[in-house]
Symmetry: C2
Subunit: 311 residues, 2 copies
């Protein structure tokens, strides 16, 4: 951009602007959009809808989203810096359009009022999930792997973590190793304690998710009730993944020698032997290790997760 020395554009990734929506789907702070400004395109989020303008009396209306043909004042954060003027100063460098990243349909036009990066909201809040997702280029989520002991949950989770990490994803595993000796060391194996264990894990997963992570939870979690509770706690971004391996195969593998002990009666309440495993009623996805070896399981799950976390 060639500009006069005394007439420099603003450079910022936070703008305060008016939006005129004209999509059938409403403009919503939970979605990300493509912002096209002059010759540049960048991903953006609507941080906040300050108000909608009632076009009849020009009064302000509090709104959480903008419907078709409504005009609102909003704050937007973009992934890349924009080089802009206010719309008052320059109609070209002060305007932009928002497009749906899936359909490339133009969903709104915008007129920039000002740079909002130094607004007094600066220290009002912590860095939200949206900002983190924008920066790292992928969505977050809690991927809950359930299956028998020895089904391959942890191996698959580790393979997926390694692979995504190399691809610069923010990814972390939450499993017994993280929590058993620390956060949950006060808990035993009574039904109440098992419930509390899953409750705490789900909350930690949610905190990690809010911090920007793809969280791979690897827990036997034999009860549907517990997995439903985890989904309830985590919310929308929870995915239940059933790692299905035949119990006979698990007994054959018996990496840690636990099945032998359980069958000999030395470990009480062992899932699959002396305690029930409830297969997921309606899992979000399903890896059947009878048909997929370890490497393929990792590949399939990794691709599914990449798809689920596309911005």
């Amino acid at each position: 951009m060639i500009v006069r020395r005394d007439n420099l554009p603003s450079i910022s990734h936070s703008i305060d602007c008016y939006l005129c929506a004209f999509s059938d789907t409403q403009i919503d702070p939970n979605n990300s959009y493509i912002l096209k400004h002059t010759t540049q395109s960048t991903r953006c989020y609507i941080d906040k809808i300050l108000y909608e303008i009632n076009v009849n009396d020009l009064h302000r209306i509090n709104k959480d989203s903008l419907n078709k043909n409504s005009i609102g004042r909003v704050k937007i954060s973009t992934m890349d810096d924009l080089f802009f003027d206010s719309y008052d100063q320059n109609k070209i460098t002060g305007s932009f359009i928002l497009m749906d990243p899936g359909t490339y349909e133009t969903v709104a036009v915008g007129m920039i009022k000002k740079d909002s990066s130094n607004d007094n909201i600066f220290y009002e809040d912590t860095i939200g999930k949206n900002h983190r997702e924008l920066k790292q280029g992928h969505k977050t989520g809690v991927f809950w792997l359930t299956g028998l002991s020895g089904s391959g949950k942890t191996t698959i989770a580790r393979g997926v973590e390694q692979d995504l990490f190399k691809r610069n994803y923010q990814v972390v595993i939450l499993d017994g190793d993280n929590v058993r000796h620390g956060l949950c060391k006060d808990l035993g194996f009574t039904p109440e304690d098992r419930t509390e264990n899953i409750r705490r894990i789900a909350h930690v997963a949610a905190i990690l998710r809010d911090s920007g992570f793809i969280v791979l939870c690897s827990f036997i979690s034999p009860l549907q009730e517990h997995r439903d509770m985890a989904r309830e706690i985590v919310g929308d971004e929870f995915r239940e993944i059933y790692i299905e391996t035949d119990i006979k195969e698990c007994i054959k593998r018996d990496v840690k020698g636990l099945y032998a002990k359980a069958i000999a009666g030395e470990i009480p309440n062992f899932t699959g032997i002396s305690a029930p495993y409830e297969p997921p009623v309606n899992p979000d996805t399903h890896i059947c290790t009878e048909f997929l070896d370890e490497v393929d399981s990792i590949l399939v799950l990794r691709e599914w997760i990449r798809d689920q976390t596309k911005l």
Copy 2:
């Protein structure tokens, strides 16, 4: 690098190699080093010392670190990819030196045996803190801000978070908002529950730290005993930061109107009014808001944290 088409170097950030140590300080998997290979320098970690070689009988000795003049076989991870051959094939592209990042002293020479990125350790473990630090370019840590209600802890933490986030640090805040309604909602205000609250928070902070974060914990945490417990749980990378603001100033600010209620006796056991606040005995650093305004406090703490988390 110009190479023959049929004689390509290996490209990897994981190598299996022999190291000959000649520094007075021992070579240790907990430290990071500068690896200088041909014309390239990159940061590296020693993932594992496989064994030391007894130079008298060539037997292998299990060791956790390498002393001066000892030779060992180690696995190393580098931040950037190396383009190398094995030392057997090429003495130049198969060798490197390790330097101390503080003094630039050469602490070891290395001979590459092979690319170890596809070793069978691949799925044996989760991505460790060391790898995450290498990738993101800074160390992790738990920074525990303690101070009276209204002392400015949260504002300062948010300012530091915003600033570090913009500088591409991995940073997250843990405060009442994250945990009060979730992980710790079963806890009340008895002494036991307060202790359990801090215990859980410290464990979550440790999990976030292990996931690569600079964790800013903002809790009144009035008791030294509790802060000591948090330090005990988190370990070496715990830093206690005292946000010192005079109680009179806090009462004057009274942003949430809590002091007024506490003074009127409507809130029992309110820290600073009807319950004690124990100033840190020996904090790692100290922000005195009598002398520093908000912006300067953020600046000072941010620079201190950047210094503490230098790789």
